[in-house]
């Protein structure tokens, strides 16, 4: 608890954007410590020394977790990244301006024209409310910050808090040493940083904190059997539900864990108290979130938790009966009957509930989590998102580095010292690793587990090695500072195997471990600065002379929209850019990143993949005034609309069978050059992307109309637009905006 209060002070300093250094209280002993580097002069007892080191390490880790996420701010500027964060930013702005009730009841008529979207009922408000509370608190303390700064720094702040939780979690499942290592590992783990750099103002930023907190408190509740911890776990779960749809992982993992404990005969009163309290209170609290509502009692995804809840009651009842019945034979018979009946009743209830429609079946998203191939066949809109793709091996390596090898080692240690807590972390690790393999973005969920399990491996190994190293050296009391962090459990003092070079071997291995860990730190810093700190709304490239070239075309286009179009203009674009257009361009969009209405998105996909005259009818029926396309042919920016186009065709064709994917392919190959399919060369997306491009020379020594993103000369250079006219093209042609002409006056 001592360690917890001090880092909070440290956060307040860091939050305000001033020099992120530890706050005065821990700094004073630190400076003493540096002045005359010896514990003896401080006259502290071993326990106090250990506490001091632990607290200092935690403070440093806390600060490190924050500042390592500031690369993006230093490289670019304090801005919101990517797509979804813009929606979160817009809603937070609305929340701080209009207050909570307006936010809660916000009907947004600017997105999903003409359907509109009930914002309050279709989002997880946790992130916005958190940011708003931080903002109001800072305002109350007379820090005149802009809400954008708060939003930009929310994710790093919560990443720092996560390290504290990781420490306590590690302490709970193993020992303080493992806790410290876990905190240090998770502070810089790329898998987590990818979603929590400054500016990445997304639900995941706070949700991982909530996820780990819930798990930690639940394990604590199971270990202690205390109602208070269980209540804390329920509250943590409530925060998680309010913040991210990933809460579904908690509500399934915890019952699974309880079930495993029940099967392995680890049922206890502690477990009963912890689970029942967490489940009931957590469920009631979660129902207060509008977006979740009655799903806890009505949706198939939540039924496992309810089933386990009833199973717990059966177990409790059996325990009671066992207590009453002295005859074990009678109890066995009773047990058989009761369990059979309970399972049968549960099965019938589930069957009736599903058949009557009271319990909704599993959603496609849930299926696609369990089965990696499901989305590809059934839900193109999920499969089209790059972060929903199955994970490549390289990205595991990229995001976990040495943790990938330490993870199995940690599992080994967990199995060696099996307890309720280690069973939990093993299950968390294994399930989340499976999901991380199914979808790239779920590496994030696996990261805390991987860090914790690896921390156990690191901590246990180093502890053993240091013991070996110190074994023959017992006389000399030169305890290394590193060893001090794990001096607590020195029960295994008996080193009697007199293997040759044992001590030297231990030193070599220790050195190897530190080498690996320092490599991990280098790798993490490099990945953070190179790969995960790009805002993706501003693009950077290297020029011919090695200088940095910044493409700020997106913001240029959105500001053009804001300044030059009528306030009620409707902009049609592919859904990726919807949030940004509403947040930055302040214009109504047809579809956006909240992909709740597949038909509406398919209509836009159909318009983009039709001929111009057919598309015109669709656009007229949706009152579209402007069409926005993203085009990378000039700059070589590869994630543009032409490369996304096949998904538009697939999603459009999924609802409107007139759109057929083979029409756009030649022998199953997607091309834009002369050999492309005729429909491809004349569809709206092609025309809008390549309009006037045929007369442009993009690269020296190449013919005009050479598309640098795809490395080919385009096939249709003479594009005439009949129903649309070019309204604006940004300086690097990345965003092109077209105006839909009114119908012909005399026809």
């Amino acid at each position: 608890m001592v360690g917890k209060s001090e880092p909070l002070n440290g956060t307040a300093t860091a939050k305000t954007g001033q020099s992120p250094s530890p706050s005065p209280p821990p700094a004073t002993p630190m400076s003493d410590l540096l002045g005359n580097f010896s514990f003896k002069t401080l006259k502290l007892k071993t326990k106090q020394q250990e506490l001091l080191i632990r607290v200092s390490i935690l403070c440093l880790v806390y600060v490190l977790a924050f500042i390592t996420r500031l690369f993006s701010v230093l490289r670019y500027e304090s801005m919101i990244h990517e797509f979804d964060p813009y929606f979160n930013y817009r809603t937070t702005l609305y929340l701080t301006e209009k207050g909570f009730y307006e936010f809660w009841n916000w009907f947004d008529s600017e997105s999903w024209y003409p359907l509109g979207r009930i914002i309050g009922g279709t989002l997880y408000p946790g992130l916005m409310v958190t940011a708003a509370i931080i903002y109001w608190a800072l305002r109350f303390l007379s820090f005149a910050v802009h809400i954008r700064e708060v939003c930009v720094l929310t994710a790093p702040f919560f990443a720092s808090n996560t390290t504290i939780v990781a420490y306590f979690f590690g302490k709970e499942i193993w020992d303080t040493g493992a806790g410290l290592v876990a905190a240090a590992l998770i502070a810089i783990c790329p898998g987590y940083i990818s979603r929590s750099v400054a500016g990445s103002y997304d639900n995941e930023g706070v949700a991982i904190f909530a996820l780990l907190l819930t798990f930690y408190l639940f394990v604590k509740a199971v270990n202690t059997g205390s109602l208070a911890w269980a209540l804390g776990s329920a509250l943590g779960y409530f925060y998680m539900v309010s913040a991210w749809g990933g809460y579904i992982f908690i509500i399934n993992l915890i019952p699974l864990y309880v079930l495993v404990l029940l099967i392995t005969g680890r049922y206890s009163m502690r477990l009963y108290v912890a689970y029942n309290c967490t489940y009931i209170l957590g469920m009631l609290l979660a129902m207060q979130i509008r977006f979740v509502g009655f799903q806890h009692v009505q949706s198939g995804e939540h039924m496992a938790a309810m089933g386990v809840f009833f199973l717990m009651q059966v177990f409790y009842f059996l325990d009671y009966v066992k207590h009453l019945l002295s005859d074990s034979k009678m109890f066995q018979a009773f047990l058989r009957i009761t369990v059979t009946c309970a399972v049968a009743v549960g099965g019938v209830a589930l069957g009736v509930g599903t058949a009557s429609g009271y319990i909704s079946p599993w959603t496609g998203r849930f299926y696609s989590l369990l089965d990696p191939t499901y989305a590809k066949d059934h839900i193109p809109i999920i499969a089209s998102v790059s972060e929903h793709q199955p994970t490549a091996w390289s990205s595991f390596m990229f995001d976990f580095h040495i943790l990938l090898f330490l993870f199995p080692a940690g599992l080994y240690f967990c199995f060696k010292r099996l307890s309720d807590a280690t069973i939990f972390i093993v299950m968390y690790g294994l399930t989340s690793m499976y999901f991380a393999g199914v979808m790239v973005r779920l590496i994030l969920v696996a990261t805390p587990a991987v860090c914790l399990i690896s921390a156990i491996a690191v901590s246990a190994t180093i502890k053993n090695l240091t013991q070996l190293a110190r074994a023959k050296d017992k006389v000399s009391q030169t305890g290394s500072a590193k060893g001090a962090s794990s001096t607590k459990g020195s029960s295994k003092g008996s080193i009697d195997q007199s293997q040759p070079f044992q001590r030297n071997g231990a030193f070599a291995l220790l050195f190897g471990a530190f080498y690996l860990l320092s490599k991990y730190a280098t790798h993490c810093t490099w990945v953070t600065s190179e790969a995960y700190s790009s805002p993706s709304i501003v693009l950077a490239a290297r020029g011919a002379h090695g200088n940095r070239v910044i493409f700020d075309d997106y913001r240029e286009a959105y500001f053009w929209l804001r300044q030059n179009t009528p306030p009620d203009a409707k902009v049609m674009s592919w859904w990726d850019y919807g949030y940004q257009i509403t947040a930055m361009g302040n214009r109504t969009v047809i579809v956006d990143n909240n992909t709740w209405n597949n038909t509406h998105i398919a209509t836009v996909g159909r318009a983009m993949s039709s001929y111009e005259d057919e598309a015109y009818d669709i656009m007229r029926s949706l009152d579209v005034d402007y069409v926005l396309v993203v085009f990378g042919g000039v700059t070589g920016y590869s994630s543009d609309d032409i490369n996304k186009f096949l998904w538009m065709v697939r999603i459009g064709g999924g609802v409107f069978p007139v759109i057929k994917e083979p029409d756009y392919l030649v022998n199953g190959e997607y091309r834009v050059d002369k050999g492309a399919a005729p429909k491809m060369l004349n569809c709206l997306m092609y025309k809008l992307s390549y309009y006037r491009f045929g007369e442009m020379t993009t690269e020296y020594g190449k013919p005009p109309g050479y598309d640098r993103a795809r490395g080919v000369e385009i096939g249709n250079k003479d594009i005439k637009l009949e129903y649309l006219e070019e309204a604006f093209t940004t300086s690097n042609w990345i965003v092109r905006i077209y105006k839909v002409k009114p119908p012909n006056n005399r026809w």
């Binding site: 009841n105 509109g116 009930i118 306030p567 009620d568 005399r746 026809w747």
Partner: protein
């Protein structure tokens, strides 16, 4: 506040968008005072067609006669149009003088001005091209005329039956006036067909089923391309911006000679003292120059029942009132437009509510209805398109939101068992605790 501003901005925008439709080339208050440019092949036309011009001048039009190849003519000065309407009585002109060309004339129409074109046999490509752009195709044979061997105008000399006495008018009091046209109209010239793809062009005067279009001087070797009542003699176009265009295949239709001529249709014993050309063209020119059949809609208002102010947003199931005032221009002043078929739609991708508006006979149209139980961005739409009248196309966007969290009914009878269960549970728990703790 910002929402209110948004709505205000939207209203202004709607008005600015609809204004050009309501009142384009002239001031909405007094549209009669108009300047008309008349382009002639030959200044002799000015006297040979003086009756038509006089009728225009007597109605207050300022006619500016110019030769079509006059190098000084121009429609615009400093970006503003100097004329409100254009009469092209120059069927044979190949190139206009000054800055006028095909594009200039089409721009003139597209910016809401009116146009009368009189073609004739041997009409130039330029005139044909203008007509094509307005949805009318003249017979491609330059020497072709409309010939009718059964309903020609009987004359003293047995001619080639190219002077046609036609009485197949469009049935519209708005376009041709309420007074019935008794006598046939004399026509001599080229026929045209209406492009079937163009939905805006109307045949005002059609040829009889026995007519055909051919060169009367040469022998008919091929079947004529235009026959029967597909031939239109006089057509009008009302463009989407309510600019009106009159296209006639005959310049002599407007001539004093035909205005004064006696007429007897072949096969009919009835002799008319005077052809109806004058009446027909006077009434038609009144329509083309917006002296008739011009509607305006003003004061679009909507509000909740019992409130006066226009809300920025409705809630589902709100009761609302909608009203609009529609006036018709009667040459001198705006008078209330009376009809029983004006409808309003409450529209979001498809009409959710479609109601006929009641009228107080003083121009005000109103109705009230309940907002459907669907949220979204709706539009109040009035699409009033009647033959001859300018089209009224009003749309006004209004979002409809769902209930707020505190707008649902608080205590519903169906929930009382649940309230009962909750409270009995609480009491039971309390009693149980007391008994359990203190009753050993």
């Amino acid at each position: 506040m910002s929402k209110l501003l948004g709505v205000l901005a939207f209203l202004t925008l709607t008005l600015t968008l609809t204004l050009p439709f309501l009142a384009h080339s002239f001031s909405p208050d007094h549209p009669t005072d108009r300047r008309v440019l008349v382009l002639l092949d030959d200044l002799a036309v000015k006297s040979s067609h003086s009756l038509f011009f006089k009728s225009l001048q007597s109605r207050g039009f300022e006619l500016d006669f110019k030769l079509a190849d006059d190098p000084k003519i121009s429609l615009q000065r400093y970006g503003l149009y100097s004329y409100d309407a254009l009469i092209l009585f120059s069927p044979s002109v190949d190139r206009f003088g000054g800055s006028i060309d095909l594009a200039a004339i089409l721009d003139f129409v597209d910016s809401g001005h009116d146009l009368i074109i009189a073609a004739d046999t041997n009409a130039s490509d330029l005139i044909r091209q203008i007509a094509v752009e307005c949805g009318v195709d003249f017979d491609e044979d330059p020497g072709a005329m409309v010939i009718d061997h059964t309903s020609y105008a009987v004359s003293d000399t047995e001619g080639d039956h190219t002077v046609i006495a036609s009485d197949d008018f469009i049935k519209s009091d708005v376009i041709l006036g309420s007074e019935k046209i008794e006598a046939p109209v004399l026509f001599q010239g080229i026929g045209h067909a209406v492009n079937s793809e163009n939905s805006l062009v109307l045949k005002v005067l059609s040829a009889s089923p026995s007519a055909y279009s051919a060169n009367p001087k040469s022998k008919l070797s091929n079947p004529p391309s235009l026959t029967g009542s597909a031939i239109s003699l006089v057509s009008v176009v009302q463009a989407r911006n309510n600019a009106r265009v009159l296209i006639s295949g005959s310049l002599s239709l407007f001539s004093d000679r035909f205005f004064r001529s006696k007429v007897q249709k072949a096969g009919s014993s009835k002799k008319h003292e005077k052809s109806s050309n004058e009446q027909f063209l006077t009434e038609l020119s009144k329509w083309v120059f917006h002296e008739r059949g011009h509607l305006k809609a003003v004061n679009v208002k909507h509000n909740r029942v019992g409130e006066a102010d226009e809300p920025a947003m409705y809630r589902i199931n709100d009761d609302l009132q909608y009203s609009v005032e529609i006036y018709e221009w009667h040459g001198q002043r705006w008078e209330p437009y009376v009809a029983d078929d004006v409808q309003v739609q409450f529209y979001m991708m498809s009409p959710y509510v479609l109601k006929t508006l009641s009228t107080d006979q003083k121009g005000r149209y109103f109705t009230d209805f309940k907002v459907p139980d669907v949220y979204g961005v709706f539009q109040f739409k009035v699409e009033y398109q009647r033959l001859g009248y300018t089209s009224l196309s009003l749309s006004k966007q209004i979002p409809v939101r769902p209930f707020r969290h505190n707008e649902y009914e608080r205590f519903i009878p169906a929930a009382y068992p649940y309230y009962g269960a909750a409270f009995s549970m609480m009491t039971g728990f309390f009693v149980f605790t007391v008994v359990h703790l203190y009753n050993k």
